[in-house]
């Protein structure tokens, strides 16, 4: 064993390859993490540009800027890109960077599979975005692509869309296999499961969810492919099928998918609040059990996205009660974060600002979710802007804030340079204010009856829509500031210590490494007490 270790150390001195091939062929978890993060940051601006088109059209009533056909492509692709191209790859990027370092492993268990998992994504998004430039236009049936709009009435580019979804799914599944294998097999001696960092727990659970439900998504797009091209009738009533089948199978994937998009965020936020409260996370084991309960429950609530399709009452009631149940473990987590801060020694650096905003605003998103869970109430809210408000609150000040918080928290570790704290705080306040201006009024217009996915609206919604659009433009421009901050940090700044933040040495193995860490770390396993 020791002979192998010495050889490794010699190799470590050579450093990573140079040039483009370094990035094409890398099997290094840090490099692959960086690739995922840059991909998702780029897609943030692509999907964000689409949102700007949407908000520009909705700035005033009437059709001014784009045709409805193109507007539908914007809403559809904004959703697809944000879900599959920003939030998911960004969390995978964090997983790649942080999991090996946090468990004391030299790399992921399957490094070459890791490379494939990443490079599948630019291919998939290249195919998806290219459909926007094809004569028939890109996907225009919403990110939830219900049949028959996505089968009988879809442009022929839908076949590219299906191909793209298949590729993304394979990437996620392969990545999840890698993550589970790594976590189970490569933890440092002494790190039992219940001593693992919460970010690692969050990802362990998320990886299981991904493996369980991405194949179901693959199944539903394959059924679509067969209905479109091979004359089957999965979703066609004329042939004995049912459009509602699509919704059931899609949401069986779709609901766990949204928990996939939030569980790693829970992990990140726990780390940040613990660090900046200078107090151990309150209720570590209940945090683990809560994440596991949320994941398990997420499998039995899917039909709350379909309350209006005509299900029997008993079915609607079951899904209503099960959905409300999920609020309980989620509430446990929120209370634990607050309890961690209580009587802690709190400082308000940028990561902490985003993390605290997460706790408050994600909770608001959760409340609107609870409102949507009530069946008779949902009959009014369904397909209105109230739903749009809900999921944007849990995804933007939810998932995205956690990602941004994690970026500020770990950028000094990754780059070796402190980010500019003043600019970071400016980014936070502009983002926080613009996010609320953008998404809070959506609750009101939704309750007042404005439908979603519409390029135009009744006159009584005009004032709020103008306000929402202005908030959205500010939000979009502010993220350019974030890009500037990230690039500035990479290029230089106050040198970071290995601890970076006060008192982190005992909080995680990543804080025992240099900032930036060498290309290969933990070539010798650390011992964990």
């Amino acid at each position: 064993m020791s002979t192998v270790v010495e050889t490794h150390d010699h190799e470590g001195h050579h450093g990573p390859a140079k040039g483009l091939t370094r990035w094409l062929f890398t099997t290094n978890h840090k490099d692959i993490g960086t690739l995922y993060l840059w991909l998702s940051f780029t897609m943030l601006f692509v999907g964000g540009a689409m949102a700007m088109v949407i908000r520009a059209e909705l700035f005033q009533p009437g059709l001014q800027i784009v045709q409805p056909e193109f507007f539908n492509q914007m809403t559809t692709n904004h959703g697809l890109i944000m879900v599959f191209g920003v939030i998911m790859p960004a969390f995978v990027g964090f997983a790649n960077w942080m999991i090996p370092m946090q468990i004391g492993a030299p790399d992921m268990a399957l490094p070459r599979l890791n490379n494939l998992s990443f490079w599948l994504l630019p291919m998939a998004f290249g195919i998806l975005v290219s459909t926007l430039f094809m004569p028939e236009g890109g996907p225009n049936f919403g990110w939830t692509f219900y049949a028959p709009l996505s089968t009988t009435y879809a442009p022929s580019t839908v076949n590219f869309f299906i191909f793209s979804v298949h590729i993304m799914g394979i990437s996620s599944i392969l990545g999840s296999i890698n993550i589970i294998t790594t976590i189970f097999n490569m933890r440092a001696p002494g790190m039992t499961l219940m001593k693992m960092p919460l970010f690692v727990w969050g990802w362990l659970i998320t990886a299981y969810l991904l493996i369980a439900v991405m194949p179901v998504l693959a199944g539903v797009v394959t059924m679509m492919l067969m209905d479109i091209n091979f004359g089957t009738s999965f979703f066609n009533a004329a042939g004995g099928g049912d459009p509602v089948l699509f919704q059931h199978v899609f949401w069986f994937f779709g609901h766990p998918e949204v928990y996939i998009m939030i569980l790693p965020a829970f992990g990140i936020v726990s780390h940040i609040i613990e660090t900046f409260s200078r107090k151990p996370i309150f209720g570590y084991s209940s945090m683990v059990y809560a994440m596991a309960s949320i994941a398990i429950l997420s499998f039995v609530v899917w039909a709350h996205h379909m309350f209006t399709v005509g299900m029997p009452l008993a079915g609607e009631l079951f899904f209503m009660y099960a959905t409300m149940l999920i609020a309980i473990p989620t509430g446990v987590k929120v209370f634990n974060w607050v309890a961690t801060m209580f009587r802690g020694s709190i400082s308000f650096e940028t990561p902490m600002l985003f993390a605290i905003a997460f706790v408050a605003l994600f909770t608001i998103g959760g409340f609107s979710g609870l409102m949507l869970a009530i069946v008779p109430a949902d009959f009014q809210y369904h397909d209105t802007y109230f739903v749009v408000a809900h999921f944007h609150y849990v995804l933007v000040p939810g998932s995205l804030f956690a990602l941004i918080a994690g970026a500020y928290y770990w950028l000094p570790k990754w780059t070796g340079n402190m980010y500019d704290e003043t600019l970071g705080k400016l980014h936070f306040w502009l983002t926080f204010i613009s996010v609320n201006i953008t998404f809070f009024p959506m609750h009101f217009v939704g309750l007042a009856g404005m439908p979603r996915r519409y390029p135009d609206y009744a006159l009584q919604f005009a004032d709020f829509n103008m306000l929402i659009s202005m908030g959205a433009f500010l939000f979009g421009v502010t993220q350019l500031l974030f890009l500037f901050i990230v690039i500035k940090t990479i290029r230089g700044g106050k040198k970071a210590t290995s601890e970076v933040w006060e008192g982190t040495r005992d909080l995680g193995l990543e804080w025992t490494l240099d900032s930036p860490p060498p290309h290969h770390t933990f070539t010798v396993q650390p011992q964990v007490k």
């Binding site: 493996i211 369980a212 439900v213 991405m214 194949p215 179901v216 693959a218 199944g219 539903v220 394959t222 059924m223 004359g231 999965f234 009533a237 004329a238 042939g239 004995g240 089948l245 059931h248 199978v249 069986f252 005509g310 299900m311 029997p312 008993a314 079915g315």
Partner: protein, 166 residues
Amino acid sequence: MFAFAFVLVPLYDVFCEITGLNGKVTGTSTLSEESLAISEQRELLVQFITRNNESMPWHFKSEKSQMRVVTGNQYDAIFVFHNKTDKAMVGQVIPSVSPGRGADYFHKTECFCFDQQYLAAGERIELPVRFIVDPALPKEIGSLSLGYTLFDITDRIDATKEVAKL
């Protein structure tokens, strides 16, 4: 899990049967032993609704829009089909019974919805639906609506013929 997505199709049928939740749109064609044993009869209203899917050009109507019926007895309802175009076409009727809870208790012993309907250009036919309302129908249900949607499946039949020729 990939196969699970496809298996969901028959799994839903199994689930509906086991739980009796039965969001299914039609009942079986025959009465059960228990139902046959019920001698008590009651009256209810059966209404007929016809609709054409999208651009299906046939004239498709029920002779009577409703019938007062008695549970346990067999009745015939006549529907008119008229292909007003100058091309031979094939139609498929998909039934639906409302309220959903009543679907189990509406038994069609004979129905044009069981088969594809071929009509030559300009052809007009009248077809029956033979049905019995189950005596075990819950008391709360005072009327049943039988809804029929007519789909144009000419293209699908042509496509299948092409495949069969290969």
